[in-house]
């Protein structure tokens, strides 16, 4: 079950890389976060960790519902261009993405033997980190860069729940607070875009 969810998680992330419309990108990001939250809840239920279930629920509430909605609101309000063509041609990204997937797998191969549990998920979460960075790099517009950063955050969350069975509750809550702070800053930056 977790395998399927993680498969979908990474599949939605890759679809983000090929999207050329902003709202659809936000939609894929929301789905990505939904799968992430489900992974956390399912994994938490499996190992009986309430903290992980709670943070999975918070993930779904904040990242699946709140953040995409707020970003869409910001994008509509400040008339951000909705056509987001990547700098990188599709042909290249079709090659780069598999290269990243294979490369990270071999990169983390030594770590995998050092991990006690969920070793294989770590490989996928690290490659999703790189994919999210690719998303930041391949776009020139600001809005997809922000989505890319949020996706990095998702990848780190996946890494945290898979590699360490969840970080301390306080730290995870703090990360959520920082995420909200990021959104506030993004909002303000857009708001004062034309003030000079």
């Amino acid at each position: 079950m977790i395998d399927v969810l993680i498969g979908f998680y990474i599949a939605t992330l890759i679809t983000e890389l090929f999207t050329t419309r902003l709202y659809r990108l936000l939609g894929w990001y929301a789905l990505n976060s939904l799968f992430l939250g489900l992974i956390a809840i399912y994994m938490g239920a499996q190992i009986g960790d309430n903290a992980m279930i709670i943070s999975g629920t918070i993930t779904i509430i904040i990242k699946f519902m709140l953040i995409p909605y707020v970003l869409k609101y910001i994008a509509t309000k400040f008339k951000i261009p909705r056509n987001i063509n990547p700098n990188l041609k599709v042909h290249y990204s079709t090659i780069i993405v598999p290269v990243i997937l294979v490369f990270t797998y071999y990169l983390v191969n030594p770590i995998i033997h050092n991990m006690a549990y969920n070793a294989n998920y770590v490989a996928l979460s690290i490659s999703s980190l790189f994919l999210a960075m690719l998303l930041i790099i391949e776009h020139k517009n600001i809005a997809p860069k922000i989505v890319g950063f949020l996706s990095i955050e998702n990848a780190l969350f996946l890494l945290a729940i898979s590699a360490t069975k969840g970080m301390p509750m306080l730290v995870e809550l703090g990360i959520f607070v920082d995420l909200l702070m990021l959104i506030v800053i993004v909002n303000i930056l857009f708001k004062h875009q034309g003030d000079f």
Binding site: E153, A160, V171, I185, L189, F196
Partner: protein
């Protein structure tokens, strides 16, 4: 415990009202009170731990904060900032300080990261206090690059946490717990995490490959923001590096030395030639800030703790002072060094600025002179103990050559500023003189024998 946050919260609240800016500066100077309180009364609880190291860094940072607040009294006149911009500055300064205290005092990697991220995000908007197109672009740049850097740090922290979770459980986030059981943790995983985290720190401080981004940002923002970056934020990041590298030293010291030296030489190579080509004060100072961070890093990994801390403190006082005095130096024209030190009615100001400018390149009475002497001694000690004596000596030699390029450039800048150019009358505000005096006195205090003893006692 919560008392220490009061000045910053007060600052945020007051920034929503119409307040006299002198009063506001007074309020923001209050941040030094909790710092002194913590310095005198260390405390420990589940997530925070005050030891000599972080209380020292906090004290230095708060002195810098006071200096910045002092200069903010007159800066609006100089840069034509409106009321709204000042309010914005103080609001985000309050948030910044809130995050910073959390970050500096934390004894938990996660909390440390949260505080750092908070401080980083709040500085994003401070860049745009004075609106301009470049400032706007640089703010976005800072948001993206800073966010990637800080994500790398979190990534490393997660791996380090994973490396020790099996041994320590939830305590694996704890700096001291990690240091105490360094021989039991999974060293391979820890080192991977450490490398990634430190790369994140380095990118954030503008090390190699990202040498110019911090300089661009400091050029585009107003002077106090540049001062905050170099004096406070970099100290906090450095503190994180200190803490983590202490653990890495126990895990595998030779890897740490190799990694840092290679990174440092690359960075110094880039920075020294970039400095050689600069044409304005702020960029020069920003790049020289990177240079000093490199020096602190290699002093620390070489075991010269005293040198590193003294250098950190001296840099934290010198660099903000220089950034803030750039507002005086650049009041006639921005992209020229000529005649910048001429034409002041008050003779004290050029004297103090000259002292600071020469202090940053370690002309003897400066504390940096002592720190570099001790630091290079520590580096030579490491070279003697290592198996690769010649390589290490060669590395140190290269570092010396690169530093001498920077030294030469600064002397040139000083001469141009003092002797070339026209004698144009320049304005100086009282608060700026007060700021310069504050920093000079703090610097002089650093070379007191008692302070030397104290710093030496921080890490034994």
């Amino acid at each position: 415990m919560l008392i220490i946050f009061i000045p910053s919260i007060l600052l945020v609240i007051l920034s929503f009202f119409k307040i006299n800016r002198t009063l506001m500066a007074g309020v923001s100077s209050l941040i030094i009170v909790p710092a002194i309180y913590i310095f005198l009364h260390p405390f420990v609880n589940e997530y925070f731990l005050v030891d000599k190291l972080n209380s020292f860094v906090l004290l230095i940072s708060s002195i810098v904060g006071v200096g910045v607040s002092l200069s903010m009294i007159s800066l609006p006149d100089r840069l034509n900032l409106n009321e709204e911009a000042i309010k914005r500055f103080y609001r985000f300064f309050g948030i910044f300080w809130f995050g910073l205290i959390i970050s500096i005092l934390a004894n938990n990697m996660g909390i440390f990261w949260i505080g750092l991220e908070f401080a980083t995000l709040s500085t994003v908007y401070m860049i745009k206090v004075k609106d301009s197109l470049t400032a706007h672009k640089e703010a976005w740049k800072y948001l993206t690059v800073g966010a990637i850097a800080i994500s790398l740090v979190l990534f490393g922290i997660i791996l380090m946490y994973a490396s020790a979770k099996g041994v320590l459980g939830e305590n694996a986030m704890n700096f001291y717990a990690l240091a105490n059981s360094a021989d039991k943790i999974n060293s391979f995983l820890f080192e991977i995490g450490f490398t990634i985290s430190v790369t994140g720190f380095f990118i954030k401080m503008g090390f190699f490959p990202m040498n110019l981004w911090l300089a661009d940002i400091e050029r585009a923002s107003i002077y106090p923001v540049a001062a905050l970056f170099s004096g406070i934020l970099e100290s906090a990041i450095m503190l994180g590096f200190f803490r983590l590298s202490k653990i890495e030293m126990l895990v595998n010291a030779s890897h740490l030395v190799t990694f840092s030296y290679i990174y440092a030489i690359f960075t110094l190579f880039m920075v020294s030639f970039l400095i050689y080509r600069t044409k304005d004060f702020v960029t020069t100072f920003a790049l020289s800030g990177i240079e000093h961070m490199v020096l602190i890093t290699i002093f620390w990994v070489s075991g010269g703790y005293f040198a590193a801390l003294l250098h950190l403190a001296a840099h934290a006082f010198l660099k903000p002072a220089l950034f803030l005095s750039s507002s005086m130096l650049e009041q006639k024209r921005r992209y020229s060094f000529k005649g910048a030190l001429k034409g002041y009615k008050n003779k004290l100001v050029p004297l103090l600025i000259s002292l600071l400018l020469l202090g940053i390149i370690s002309i003897p009475p400066s504390p940096m002179f002592f720190s570099e002497i001790f630091g290079f001694k520590a580096m030579l000690d490491v070279a003697q103990d290592s198996d690769y004596f010649l390589v290490m000596i060669f590395a140190i030699f290269i570092i010396m050559i690169l530093l001498s390029i920077i030294f030469y450039k600064f002397i040139t800048i000083y001469q141009e500023a003092l002797y070339d150019g026209k004698d144009e009358p320049k304005k100086v505000y009282k608060s700026e003189i007060a700021m310069l005096l504050l920093f000079t006195i703090s610097l002089l205090a650093l070379i007191l024998p008692q302070v030397f003893d104290y710093i030496e006692g921080i890490i034994k």
